[in-house]
Symmetry: C2
Subunit: 347 residues, 2 copies
Amino acid sequence: MREESARSERRQRHASIVDVAALAGVSPSTVSRSLRGHENVSPATRQRVADAARELAYTVSPHGSGLASGRTGTVGVVVPFVTRWYFANAVAGAHDALHAAGFDVLLYHLGDSPSRDRFFERMPLARRVDAVLTLSMPLTDAHTLALRALDMPLVTLGARLDGVSSVRIDDQAAARSAVHHLLHQGHEDIAMITAREDDPGFGFVAGADRLQGYRTAMAAAGLPEDVVTARTYGIEGGAEAMTRLMERGRLPSAVLAEYDEVAIGVLRTLRRSSVPVPARISVIGVDDHEMASVLDLTTVAQPVQEQGALAARLLLDQLDGQAEGPVDLVVPTTLVVRSSTGPPSQS
Amino acid sequence: MREESARSERRQRHASIVDVAALAGVSPSTVSRSLRGHENVSPATRQRVADAARELAYTVSPHGSGLASGRTGTVGVVVPFVTRWYFANAVAGAHDALHAAGFDVLLYHLGDSPSRDRFFERMPLARRVDAVLTLSMPLTDAHTLALRALDMPLVTLGARLDGVSSVRIDDQAAARSAVHHLLHQGHEDIAMITAREDDPGFGFVAGADRLQGYRTAMAAAGLPEDVVTARTYGIEGGAEAMTRLMERGRLPSAVLAEYDEVAIGVLRTLRRSSVPVPARISVIGVDDHEMASVLDLTTVAQPVQEQGALAARLLLDQLDGQAEGPVDLVVPTTLVVRSSTGPPSQS
DNA sequence: GGCCCTCCTGCAAACGTTGGCAGGCTCGTG
DNA sequence: CACGAGCCTGCCAACGTTTGCAGGAGGGCC
């Protein structure tokens, strides 16, 4: 009791716009206009207001402002797993661009499929944000419906959505270029490891496209497909899938992993089984994960932070009303050859 | 013109609490109370309100609510670099705990030292959040002052701050236990690589403590110190520092890295120089980074997501007024022995 | 049957800002 | 000197909730 009242007394209320107005000797409206550099405010007034605001350490209340203007100054960034390299980097890129433009970032870390469903059902974004950025998520129809219903600027990263701007790489081409690299080195027995294609609960939505690229490239070369689907995502998934691949008896001469984390899992299994890379088997991934350089993993690199920033920029354009309609930005990838790939063994 | 008016017409305004009230045949106050399950509302009314709200797809406006109640339902999470494994995991842990408690997470990705300063000067957190969680950041006095001035619940992760609750590991003990492991294997020539100790712009604030732990353990064993400071953080820093260490001519028999990413950089340099690990040199880190298992890196593991969740819980307790005063939660670490450490070579 | 208490509900006043509207002042021009 | 055109500025009505206060209805107890 006693303590509580003491505490609430000590907690000095924030200065409000009327306090600033009083101190500056003007009306609240003038303060509002002045502080936002809006319309025509005389330099003298502007100065007085600025001084008063600084003296009172005034910050505009997002609630008051949001209520009156209908804008929140906040963008929602929706991501399945921040802990994964790709997402963390995309979030960082997007955050920095948005923050620089004066927007706050509300992070929604969705996790697995069921929590994802719950999220889209409750749609907590409704009135909290001005725009939404979704990162490479496998979206069900219900999800996209919920997103569209928000009726606000929307950009997707790493995935296509009808009528929505997006930033991504050409996943099919990336996979093809990986396959071509292997073909070029003389491989003919190339397996692909995908991450849970059928139940996309955890996967990158890009998986299907990369698989398609692999198929196209193999078919064009007249070679048979060999696809293994990991039972879980990331390193563990790759490790487990590679184990299964080895248990089949006959080892392919090269493996294309859907993304680098899978490839890293593959490498771990191979090392533990003392299968030499690339002497006995070549491994290639997609992403150019931070660790690829450490593990000497050959990979098809994509610029992740840049894509995040690009997506943010698209969002900002839409918020400015500058946007011409949805665009689909496809950024280039580059093959980074390291020593996890090489010519197949003679045998 | 035409288009625009068409668009704004189509954009159906959100249902407000008075719409719900009208539909349910009650007053807005009753809707408010009912929806928050607050005071006593008759079951019949509660049901009618719930139905009306569902029918209109009503969501409370955070702005209206925030303005009236003074609460934001939002927690600010401040992090230097989300792209780093430790931070991404801590953010994930904290987010999930906060989200489960009904809070939104405003992410502030600060980056390097200058942007950090700018952030704390402008203090955009002021009226947007109910509480703040800062993740292992080296905070200057100006920073902590700005944080305290917010006068709201505050928790730090991976760092101590006077009068503020914190969650962390015992960094000195972690480093000591790493050194003891090496001593136990017979090493006497143990170097430590720290990440930019003097200018903590990028580093974990824990670095100083880990260094201290190393010093204490070495002194207790009667062995001389050998400290190398990396010029940048993470993998690249570790790689570069190891290069310098090798250029000195005499190689230590073991290296303790301030954290796993540094150790990973060390391993990269060693592999590229064909220095066998652990035959010629042992390497140990701290964290148990996701990649440690892939690289067979011996390390002192700490539970990162759990610490994030724990920190969130502390924050929630403070928001509930349950907190007894600041606590300093120290979670245990475990030595995970893999094959990057072994007895020193006979030579 | 009357009185008091409890339970439920409505009223109205905040909360802090924005933006349309209108009015006053100043300055330039004829 | 009069008139018109800008510039600046203030007034006021939102925006959507929460919450203290008060009042009405219904039920239990004597």
